[in-house]
Symmetry: C2
């Protein structure tokens, strides 16, 4: 049992859930994409479960099969989180914002405004964007990778400098003397990068946590690691196995050390899609009832992952001994999990309902199974915490909070209450205000 | 007595009030700039008074004497209004956003997200920005006027097209059939301007009012009138006299007609700074106690406005008969008002306390005086409504709502309840969704 407690975050998607077809589930109001009251309820449930943060992935363009799959995005990250901030008091907010198509001054202003009005609960998942559909919405071409990352470094440095431009002791607000500001402590930043620039200052005072927390997310490319190592206090990872988690977490920590930082100041989060149910069978049935025919469409991909032929008409039969003995995991990181599940004797439909081809490692079944997964990863140092994408938000967030969270607390690995009032305190990362002088400069 | 009812809006500034030194008033918490709960209370008071909208002027840079005058801005318009939307149900929101330094896709997304989550209460005051301090915050030069206005036309057209790109009947959300969207009704806009462009679509459904309402603001230059005439449903005016109001309102209406629109679809708002008090004397004393020494600094400007010499040491004496007989109004539109007040025999200090050098026409005294001013302008067709900048918000909003509003209602010129649930209904302007085909095209 370790002293360190794990950290949980909840990913907000489209108001229905992370499972394909979630909007069609009978317990879901299909208007939830625009019906914001639903997202507020989910946030309040997560807060009841002492989640440190809500995380909003973002992709500011239409993609995928919207005709049937829905719009798999939140309506707008900053507007959404600001609304939620008014109905919650402890949970933090991590919104994705692209450095590729936004001006640093706007990012600095909106994130710090949210940070101040939420009393220190804001975070910025600073990403780069290479998707042509997003670029087209801004009428711009996609920049090359090195340019995107150079602009990201410049943007984050400018944003952090603007955050520090209203210095901690600047706000005098002495009604008797009439001095509102010590204007020597509200000074321009005068940063001129190759791609972005800002004079400043930004006229927003420190929040209770000083300034918003920076996050990074994605696969651990050298460019992303250099960015995260310098600036990020949280890293939203995409990992499928404990081994991957351990390796990526170590890379992220090493990147922070190389930037002169304490590796404990960057927390690594692994994804998980929980389906909480009284038994594994009931959990699979819950998923099957929602996924419907979409499972059949995944058969060829499963066959590929295992290197075997699978007959689409035999969905309700397990793989034969022959199939199993010929199967071997492909290079897809999920294929080892798929093979393990197949060897347990589940039917093809059930193997797929285990989520082996989903976007996140999936746990299906009673609370103890979820707690086992989380505890095993956490104690193996494969993650400092998890970002959760429940199958169906309407009842899935409550189920996790009311059933899994108490088990984690009983096992002593999860806090029984918020550690503090700010996101920074609840993540356990160092105070910061303004630019960290150790990490200023441009990448080369 | 006319059938048409006047419309009121409340301008949100820095959390303290529109009067110089408002932050120093004893009833004001000097932390209100960052203490957002205060702004929420003011919004709720305005809603009690059936105000159609909150208006946020914006200047995204530090200016003026911040050492003593404070930061005369709201912390961030969209973040502020989103927070307020969660604590109100009828009042609308008009946020200023510059077309000069923002991407149309971001404006389209954030304003429509606010519109949807507030159930049809959002408006966009689409402005151009020529101030070098703002441009420097974006690391950009100030563009020439014709370029700024060309970009504004392009931006508004792209934003409106994106708002219409999720068509009214697009959202099927049929859980049984599995059709979420009719994707033929969620289509790109493919707009390519000279300065801005966007492909779209924007994946946000119509709000209860279709799409946000466009406002314009400022002095009636030909460029601004062309813009307002084409797109705006509200115009935030800067006028000092009934004659000015009549003239500018007529210009704005004519601009709408020239763009092929019904002139009743653009509402003209005159500014007013109310100080509500049991008597004029008590109102002046309230203002003098807050303004303090800043009044003395205005003496030279008053002397200029009236073309007379005024001794700074004789603040508590009226102008002499000699001074008055030699006085004449300068070209400053406020000087006629100043001369009228001077001729009533007020001391120099009291003349200044009447707000004759303030940013808005000022009314000081009991409720009936305010109602008289408003009624006179309204019935003279100098305004369709007013945007109010109370002296001190902490008690000034309540005083106006609880004392002046009932008088306006008794006089039959102000509605006793909200006309509808959306901003568009409460302004009495036509429904709109997507681009208005009559006004598409670029300016030349």
């Amino acid at each position: 049992m370790t002293e360190k407690k794990l950290i949980l975050g909840l990913a907000l998607h489209d108001g229905s859930g992370a499972l394909n077809n979630a909007w069609r589930a009978p317990q879901v109001n299909p208007e939830n994409y625009a019906n914001f009251e639903a997202n507020i309820r989910y946030a309040q449930a997560a807060e009841r479960g002492k989640f440190a943060f809500l995380f909003i992935p973002d992709f500011p363009a239409v993609r995928g099969d919207i005709e049937h799959g829905g719009v798999r995005n939140i309506i707008d990250p900053m507007i959404a989180l600001t609304a939620i901030s008014q109905a919650t008091s402890r949970i933090g907010f991590v919104a994705t914002g692209s450095t590729s198509f936004q001006e640093p001054f706007n990012h600095a202003r909106q994130f710090k405004a949210l940070d101040v009005l939420s009393h220190g609960r804001a975070g910025w998942n600073a990403v780069t964007t290479s998707d042509p559909a997003v670029a087209a919405n801004y009428g711009k071409p996609v920049a090359e990778r090195s340019e995107r990352y150079q602009r990201a470094h410049e943007s984050i440095q400018i944003v952090q400098a603007l955050w520090g431009s209203w210095q901690k002791e600047a706000w005098i607000k002495n009604q008797a003397s009439g001095q509102y500001i010590d204007s020597s402590k509200l000074q321009p930043v005068n940063l001129q990068g190759k791609y972005v620039a800002s004079r400043g200052p930004l006229a927003i005072p420190p929040s209770e946590q000083g300034q918003p927390v920076i996050f990074s997310s994605g696969g651990p490319s050298p460019h992303l690691l250099a960015l995260a190592g310098r600036y990020a206090s949280g890293f939203i990872g995409e990992v499928w196995t404990i081994e991957d988690g351990r390796a990526q977490r170590a890379m992220v920590r090493r990147a922070a050390e190389e930037a002169g930082r304490d590796p404990d100041d960057i927390k690594f989060f692994a994804g998980i899609m929980p389906t909480v149910a009284p038994s594994v069978r009931e959990g699979l049935d819950r998923r099957i009832s929602i996924l419907g025919d979409t499972l059949k469409a995944q058969v060829p991909q499963l066959a590929n992952m295992l290197g075997v032929q699978i007959d689409r008409r035999r969905l309700d039969e397990p793989l034969t001994t022959e199939q199993l003995s010929g199967a071997y995991p492909s290079r897809d990181p999920r294929s080892g999990i798929a093979l393990d599940v197949a060897r347990q004797g589940w039917t093809v439909r059930d193997i797929l309902a285990h989520g082996v081809i989903d976007y996140h490692p999936t746990v299906v079944g009673p609370a103890a199974l979820h707690a086992d997964h989380i505890q095993e990863w956490f104690e193996a140092e494969a993650a400092d915490g998890f970002w959760l994408s429940p199958d169906i938000f309407e009842d899935g967030v409550d189920a996790f909070v009311d059933e899994v969270v108490p088990v984690l607390q009983q096992r002593g690995i999860y806090p029984s209450d918020y550690i503090g009032t700010t996101l920074r305190e609840n993540l356990g990362v160092a105070e910061q205000y303004g630019l960290d002088p150790r990490v200023v400069g441009t990448e080369d």
